[in-house]
């Protein structure tokens, strides 16, 4: 808990400082752009020196706060890779560091998707692994020996600091330095971003948000300057983004949209032309270097908007060129209108196609089964963004009211990101940075006016001496430009009326809101986003903690006790973990590229034992691993996911599996006596509840009482014919079954046919006494045969 307080204090201070410093440079900033450019040379005696020192320390504190608030999981548990996908990333990073880059690019993983295998090098975004591998290499070069796992665990928190810096840079370009500092503080601690970047969550998004923000910063910079240098920087950053995350599609659509809207607004300029032409060509060529992306940028509909805008820009530039030569203005404007209309129609169609594609994807069961692909409720927005979600429309308002080239960009960014975040919870991640920036703009504009320097009495508490200095010095700063000064004095005169009391009240209340935001962020991070999900923890009434380490226990058992080439069947959620922790071959995993293979596993799980055995034999399964939460009341177990298995299996095998068979006639999914017989005899049910009927957890409940579903199970007498229990972890969370080999000979239900008549025959004969025996010597028969011939 000490950690908790330290973190939240640090954040609060950071945001307060940011607020305090805003007025120092925002006035000149309001006229144009970044304030503290010339100040770097001045030293501490110069006001600008103080300003840059202050900015630097605020940024540093923001990074520090961002880094440390992501460490909850490491401190509570240990330095461990979280969840599912990160285990694959970790495994491939490990492969990269042990075998080298080219080996990694050509890696064919025969341990996944048995018997198909998976070409890993060509089906991943390698940016994450290469980044972690490079850091590991550099550290080892400097003789700082760290294990690659620690590099992977701490990569996302480190990159969150870089994200804060690039957000600062971008916001400074858009508004002013004060807003930039506020935005950096916001993005450092906002839960919407922390959810994807806590320590241990070694996933693409962790580094991709940095790449996204940095690309946007460089893009805005290149539109502002029109220099090829910045554009090439933007392309390189875009290349990094393409190598890191599939979300690069967002960039390659947003930047053309920006250019298109700039043209519509008649804000076309040579700077835009240079920036976009360079960006499109170089970015296209670079993005095609990633094996997984390949020729997609010139094939798929997602990238067509960029190509269309490129063509349009060339046409527009050509017309502009002609315009200087020709005089028929009317004709040209008409022509322009026609071209832009046609282009707009093409653009809209492309967007529509993309949208319908996206929409269709949502309705495929395997995609719908992932909870991240759901639409977003307002509660999620508020939970992830708190005060920012309420105030960022105000920032958007200010940006549109004071529009310029780069603010067009941020407005488009906000509108498109908010749409995608509404459609899919997961895309909240792309919304978060722009919300931070625009909220920072809103708060900064308020502070700018209400922390005014015209009255010394109402300044915030004097403990921040740097704040006061900054304030005093900022007055001197204005002496530099006469024009700005005049503007300021006008405002001062106007502001006198509001009075110090109102101003200080407004300031205090705003700071209070920000403080609540910091507290909320810490609470959410600590409670919702810092669970490794590989290790579970439960709390007793007196606050002591039980660690449930069943997953690792079971995976380690697999690693130690099974054949090296054993094939483990499980639902796809656990594929990466089995491969990463147990190092065994899996049938399906979280890279859900082959739906029919997954459906086959789903079919095996939802069939009865003998039918399942046939499928498992054909897939060479040695072990089956399932997750069962009935003993400890863990709700994310396989019985709760079971309907998805049935649905996915039904999609491919509608003749054999029917979802309605697993429901009661009333349409309920029940595991007790009233449950449907198909469910009570399917493989998943039997494996989950094998021997569970003998177990009495509590004196108040009958034996075989499932705590997750609060029901006494309906089938307590479970016997296996083709499987045997191999391992059950301490809290029964993971159960592993061995698939028996075929018996030497199929035992028959009835006696052998040849035996029965013989016995009957002889008995019949013996019943007829010995006389018949003599007759049966059959000298007679031989004689007959001979006679006939």
């Amino acid at each position: 808990m000490a950690e908790h307080h330290a973190v939240s204090d640090g954040k609060h201070k950071a945001s307060t400082n940011a607020g305090g410093s805003v007025h120092g440079n925002s006035r000149p900033g309001a006229a144009g752009g970044g304030g503290g450019k010339g100040g770097l040379s001045g030293g501490l005696t110069q006001p600008a020196g103080w300003q840059s020192l202050l900015s630097f320390s605020i940024l540093f504190l923001a990074c520090l706060a961002g880094f440390s608030s992501r460490l909850f999981a490491v401190i509570r548990f240990e330095s461990i890779i979280h969840e599912f996908d990160p285990w694959f990333n970790y495994r491939s990073t490990h492969h990269l560091t042990t075998n080298g880059f080219y080996e990694f690019l050509n890696w064919f993983d025969e341990r996944a998707w048995y018997p198909l295998g998976r070409i890993v090098g060509g089906t991943v975004y390698p940016g994450l692994m290469v980044t972690a591998g490079l850091i590991h290499y550099m550290l080892n070069l400097l003789h700082i020996t760290v294990h690659i796992r620690d590099v992977c665990v701490f990569l996302a928190p480190v990159f969150s600091g870089l994200t804060a810096i690039s957000t600062f840079l971008l916001t400074r370009e858009l508004w002013n330095q004060g807003a930039g500092l506020l935005a950096a503080c916001f993005i450092a601690i906002v839960p919407g971003y922390i959810s994807r970047s806590v320590a241990g969550s070694f996933d693409n998004e962790g580094i991709a948000i940095f790449a996204l923000q940095f690309t946007y910063y460089l893009w805005v910079k290149s539109v502002k300057t029109g220099s090829v240098f910045w554009t090439i920087g933007c392309c390189l950053s875009y290349f990094y983004m393409v190598s890191a995350w599939g979300g690069y599609v967002f960039i390659i659509n947003l930047i053309p949209l920006h250019v298109f809207v700039l043209m519509l607004m008649q804000r076309y300029s040579r700077r835009v032309y240079i920036a976009y032409s360079t960006f499109y060509i170089v970015g296209l060529v670079l993005s095609m270097q990633i094996p997984f992306v390949g020729f997609q940028p010139i094939r798929t509909s997602e990238h067509m908007a960029a190509a269309g805008v490129f063509a349009l820009l060339q046409a527009y530039a050509f017309l502009q060129y002609l315009k200087d030569r020709l005089t028929r203005q009317e004709f040209q404007t008409l022509f322009f209108l026609g071209v832009s209309l046609a282009a707009g129609v093409v653009f809209l169609t492309v967007i529509y196609l993309t949208y319908t594609g996206l929409y269709a994807k949502i309705h495929i069961p395997i995609i719908a089964s992932v909870s991240e692909h759901q639409p977003t409720t307002w509660v999620s927005f508020f939970f992830d963004l708190h005060i920012l979600v309420c105030t960022f429309p105000a920032g958007l308002w200010f940006c549109i009211k004071n529009i310029n080239d780069e603010r067009v960009f941020v407005a488009l960014y906000a509108i498109s990101a908010v749409y995608f975040a509404g459609v899919m919870v997961r895309l909240m991640l792309t919304l978060t940075p722009v919300v931070c920036m625009l909220s920072a703009v809103a708060f900064s504009s308020v502070f700018e006016h209400y922390m005014g320097d015209d009255t010394k009495r109402e300044k915030p508490p004097a403990e921040d001496s740097s704040d006061e200095d900054d304030k005093r010095n900022s007055g001197n700063l204005y002496d530099k430009a006469g024009k700005v000064r005049k503007h300021v004095s006008e405002q001062e005169k106007a502001e006198e009326g509001l009075g110090p009391n109102i101003k200080s009240i407004v300031t205090m209340l705003m700071l209070m809101l920000l403080m609540m935001f910091a507290v909320h962020c810490t609470w959410v991070t600590s409670n919702a986003y810092s669970s490794p999900s590989v290790v579970l923890a439960s709390y007793n009434h007196d606050g002591t903690r039980n660690i449930l380490d069943d997953f690792r226990e079971a995976y380690y058992w697999l690693r130690q006790n099974t054949d090296e080439h054993a094939r483990v069947m499980s639902w796809w959620d656990y594929g990466y973990q089995i491969a990463g922790m147990a190092n065994r071959t899996t049938l399906v995993d979280n890279n859900t590229w082959n739906n029919s293979h997954i459906a086959l596993v789903g079919k095996a799980m939802s069939s009865n034992e003998s039918a399942a055995y046939k499928i498992m034999r054909s897939l060479d399964v040695d072990y089956v691993l399932i997750i069962f939460g009935g003993v400890i009341g863990y709700s994310g177990d396989d019985i709760n996911k079971f309907l998805w298995m049935v649905r996915i299996a039904e999609g491919e095998h509608p003749k054999d599996i029917r979802e309605s068979d697993y429901f009661t006639p009333q349409g309920e999914f029940r595991v007790d006596k009233a449950g449907s017989p198909t469910l009570l005899n399917c493989l998943m049910y039997k494996m989950s509840y094998y021997r569970f009927g003998e177990m009495q957890l509590d004196f108040r409940t009958p034996p075989g009482f499932d705590r997750t579903r609060n029901a006494e199970i309906g089938n307590k007498d479970i016997k296996f014919q083709h499987l045997e229990e191999a391992f059950t972890s301490e809290h029964w969370l993971v159960r592993i079954y061995k698939v028996k080999n075929l018996d030497n000979r199929e035992p028959l239900d009835h006696k052998l046919r040849s035996v029965v008549p013989k016995q009957k025959y002889t008995s019949k004969k013996t019943a007829k006494r010995k006389r018949g025996h003599i007759k049966n010597k059959l000298a007679l028969r031989k004689g007959k045969k001979l006679q006939k011939k």
């Binding site: 409720t377 927005f381 309420c390 200010f398 009240i505 407004v506 609540m516 309605s660």
Partner: protein, 306 residues
């Protein structure tokens, strides 16, 4: 035997005649008894029991009816149309005796009356489980009668038409005012529409659009109407409207605060604006926080309101 044969062919021609007029045959009690219940019959009938009269206020019935019509039309106008299967509907207000006869007390219900034998358990469509999408109904019908129906939905022209109309209106306006296109450069209009879009999205209207929740929940026993859903996983439409308003109020408060400091109105007005702004922000944010707290169980923080 001959008598029943003529009766059968008579019934069949009658059914065919009705089916040619409208794809879903409307039945009352008499017709139902004669053509569905009475024995000589060699055709299957799929019947929707419903209550479409406006005073019944059955919203689900109307949606189910649309889907049923889609299915029946797909069958009626398909090339494989035969007299093996008919689609019919019985409205509660026209044939309440049928409802009593079958001891049915909920609508809509889909029943299949097979050509041979009595209806079995699986001849009742599991509405709760499978929903009333026409595709699901078609699968059920195919399962019961071996008649495969390919559901063909009449393409919905309303959306594109509306969009086209809107574009035409905008284009027309722009053309009429082509010498004075200043309104296109009005930042207030653009800023306002951007804000509207953002507020609509952040208040979860997209969730409503995809999931279709009820407007509010009325407790049947006490009659109390709750506008806020108790769980953080779901929401009512009313709730999202409230949140939209609150978000808008907070945004307006922030804008007012800035306006109060920068505008050149007289000082009294500006003071009022400033106080109103900070009041809006504080009041509605704490209110929003209290709603959030009520929904997100275990959330410890509140502000001004408990």
């Amino acid at each position: 035997l001959y008598c029943s044969y003529t009766l059968l062919s008579e019934k069949l021609t009658q059914m065919m005649e009705w089916a040619s007029k409208r794809s879903v045959i409307r039945m009352n009690g008499d017709k139902f008894r004669r053509f569905v219940k009475a024995p000589p019959r060699n055709y299957s009938v799929v019947i929707m029991f419903t209550a479409l009269q406006p005073q019944r206020q059955c919203g689900v019935c109307r949606q189910a009816d649309e889907e049923f019509q889609v299915l029946a039309n797909s069958w009626r106008y398909s090339s494989a149309f035969t007299n093996k299967v008919f689609f019919a509907s019985v409205d509660f207000d026209e044939g309440s005796d049928v409802f009593q006869m079958l001891s049915m007390n909920s609508a809509p219900t889909f029943l299949h009356f097979p050509s041979k034998g009595k209806p079995r358990r699986s001849d009742t469509y599991e509405l709760q489980v499978r929903g009333f999408a026409a595709e699901q109904l078609a699968r059920w019908v195919a399962d019961r009668t071996d008649v495969q129906i390919r559901v063909i939905r009449p393409p919905n022209y309303a959306g594109p038409l509306l969009l086209g109309f809107l574009l035409a209106v905008i284009g027309g306006l722009a053309y009429l005012r082509r010498h004075n296109l200043e309104f296109l450069f009005n930042k207030n209009v653009w800023a306002f529409s951007a804000l509207c879009f953002v507020l609509i999205m952040t208040s979860g209207q997209m969730w409503n659009h995809i999931r279709g929740p009820p407007y509010a929940h009325k407790n049947p026993s006490t009659g109390q109407v709750s506008y806020i859903h108790g769980s953080s996983q779901a929401q009512f439409v009313a709730e999202t409207h409230i949140v939209l308003l609150f978000n808008a109020a907070i945004t307006m408060g922030m804008v007012l605060l800035c306006e109060a400091a920068t505008s050149d109105m007289d000082i009294g007005k500006r003071k009022i604006m400033c106080v109103a702004g900070i009041g809006l922000v504080m009041l509605f944010f704490s209110w929003l926080l209290s709603i959030f707290r009520a929904k997100y169980h275990g959330y410890p923080y509140s502000f001004l309101m408990g």
